[in-house]
């Protein structure tokens, strides 16, 4: 007997980054409801930051996400330096970029190999994949480890790095420690090329929508820390104009907020957005790898994000090598930063997309209020919109297959909840 309606419900408990659930209701051939609920830690941290010193923000916000602490530290530092009229240049700026390379390599390798690839290959999870493709999984883990090694060298330790401060670092690694990473990064660069070739062969579902991609764009770099916020539909603003163009909507079914562009609604951040808006800023080798993998300069299929993410791993390995090989020891580990009254804005490219911070400080450097907009909440509406389009064409699939494909579609965005999603407890409810 054909059911008149069905409900796809995906409940999960996330570890660090949040809790959430995905619920899709259908009636006949129609999708009637898509709700992606997540618990959003930044709301708690915004309150927690009030009354703290400006200098504490990098370490406190680093605790928001166990996978991308560097992004939180970088956005916090840039926002504080903006408020306090400081600018980090030269070798210190290069070291920040190196640290960010480490986080991209670590986070992207985790997602590509351990979370997303099993979807494409039809495995339940990375464990099952590891039993049949042990060498590939080992390569992914070693690649991820190389990223971790950059993070632990510059961050002081792998988890929750503690060496980053407003104005620079507490301690600069020794020359020989920097040199020791070079050979590892050379291996990682080769492994990244292999990664792009490997993911290019995965069966990619056909799916495209007319997205508005938003990313940083810098005059001559593929973006990590700095740039203007641009889109493929005409947005071109300074980071400090963010609040005039983006707003957050409360949703009755979630304590997360939906971010929208005031004029046009949903938008898309992350690797695909960066790639589409900055293809010309990639290294020649990364561009070549992308082209050999069948990507053009613009890619609108979110399922191809696994390829783009791999191209970004390659770029980050090359960029890390460039910085390591040209390393000049900064004279001091940090520049002086003095408190003053002001509001500062920071936006950097976390592995999952732009991460916006805004802080208002008093004359003693005490935080009066804080605003943090993580990339996942910026993608939430786009993820839901994808599912509205994605499900109807697949509605005849058996429910468990449809659920798997929906999860795979959500994972295109590497939402911070994704660490948990291979252990989803799926529960079906029919209306």
């Amino acid at each position: 007997m054909r059911m008149s309606g069905k409900r796809i419900k995906v409940n999960y408990l996330a570890r660090v980054e949040g809790e959430g659930a995905l619920q899709i209701k259908t009636r006949g051939q129609q999708v009637t409801e898509v709700k992606l609920r997540i618990f959003e830690p930044p709301r708690f941290f915004e309150a927690f930051l009030r009354g703290r010193m400006f200098s504490e923000a990098p370490d406190i916000t680093a605790r928001i996400c166990g996978i991308c602490p560097v992004a939180y530290q970088m956005s916090a530092c840039h926002a504080m330096e903006d408020a306090l009229g400081a600018r980090v240049e030269g070798p210190l700026r290069e070291l920040r970029r190196l640290l960010y390379c480490g986080e991209w390599i670590e986070s992207h390798a985790l997602h590509v190999y351990m979370l997303h690839a099993p979807d494409f290959l039809g495995y339940e999870d990375a464990i099952q994949m590891a039993r049949e493709h042990g060498e590939i999984v080992q390569r992914g883990l070693r690649l991820k480890k190389t990223g971790n090694e950059i993070m632990s060298l510059l961050g002081g330790r792998e988890i929750h790095p503690i060496n980053v401060r407003v104005g620079g670092f507490y301690k600069i690694p020794a020359q020989q420690e920097i040199a020791a990473l070079v050979e590892k990064l050379k291996w990682a660069r080769e492994a990244a090329i292999e990664t792009v070739r490997w993911v290019a062969k995965l069966p990619i579902p056909e799916f495209e929508r007319d997205y508005e991609f938003v990313a940083l764009r810098h005059p001559n770099e593929y973006p990590f820390n700095e740039g203007r916020l641009v889109s493929n539909k005409g947005l071109d603003i300074a980071v400090r104009e963010y609040d005039q163009h983006f707003s957050e909507q409360h949703l009755p079914y979630s304590n997360a907020l939906h971010s929208v562009l005031n004029e046009r609604g949903a938008y898309f951040v992350g690797p695909l957005a960066r790639y589409n808006l900055n293809f010309d800023r990639l290294s020649p080798l990364a561009r070549q790898a992308a082209e050999e993998a069948g990507l053009g300069p613009v890619c609108r299929n979110p399922f191809q994000s696994i390829i783009v993410r791999s191209v970004e791993i390659l770029y980050a390995c090359e960029e890390a090598l460039r910085i390591l090989e040209q390393f000049e020891r900064p004279e001091k580990p940090a520049i002086e930063v003095a408190p003053r009254v002001g509001t500062g804005y920071g936006c950097t490219e976390a592995p999952r997309g732009i991460l916006y911070h805004r802080y208002r400080l008093n004359g003693q450097g005490v935080i009066l209020d804080a605003k943090i907009v993580p990339p996942t909440s910026q993608n939430l509406k786009t993820i839901e919109d994808d599912l509205w389009d994605f499900v109807p064409a697949r509605i005849a699939l058996p429910l468990d297959e449809l659920q798997k494909q929906c999860e795979q579609a959500v994972r295109n965005y590497d939402p911070c909840i994704s660490c948990a999603t291979h252990f989803l407890k799926l529960r079906l409810e029919h209306e």
Binding site: R15, V16, F45, G66, I67, I127, A130, K145, C419, F423
Partner: protein, 161 residues
């Protein structure tokens, strides 16, 4: 970090901004000073790949993490991972079961399990945002710290480091 083949390591897992979820981290911090010369102590979020890296080369590993299995908050669970498959261990609602359970099964699939792996689970009650553990969980965390201290020391005396 490269460990010698007889090395022991204690890994505290959790998030100290999620109330009872901070129990594992609390235990690690408590043990760090007491074990500094004999056993490495690390903190981790519980993500699988990072755990495999953290225990690479170690002969004796103790993990401590908050769990949620339906037992009374503060209940202490202890498991011997190489001896049992993880799903039989069952940390059904652990805020980290994903990472920890996955790490153990992944390590098993890749032949990267340490020879001795003990897991302490401390049953949590409140995993909401916050920096304080509930009383029952805090008491159990202190007890687990004592038990790990004694297990790790007894390992260290058995094996020349």
């Amino acid at each position: 970090m490269t460990l010698n083949s007889s090395a022991a390591i204690v890994i505290g897992i959790g998030n100290s901004f999620r109330s009872d979820d901070g129990a594992g981290i609390w235990v690690a911090r408590r043990l760090r000073d007491q074990l500094q010369d004999t056993v490495s102590v690390l903190e981790a979020t519980g993500e699988a790949g990072a755990l495999l890296e953290a225990w690479e080369g170690a002969a004796f590993v103790i993990l401590v993490d908050a769990v949620r299995s339906g037992a009374a908050p503060g209940t202490i669970h202890r498991f011997d991972a190489p001896a049992e498959r993880v799903h039989s261990i069952s940390f059904p609602g652990s805020t980290h079961s994903l990472g920890v359970g996955e790490a153990i099964e992944l390590a098993r699939a890749l032949n990267r399990l340490p020879p001795h792996l003990i897991i302490y689970g401390i049953e949590g009650g409140n995993f909401g945002p916050g920096v304080e553990m509930s009383l029952a969980v805090a008491r159990s965390a202190a007890e687990v710290a004592e038990r790990i201290l004694s297990e790790a020391r007894s390992w260290a005396t058995k094996v020349p480091i």
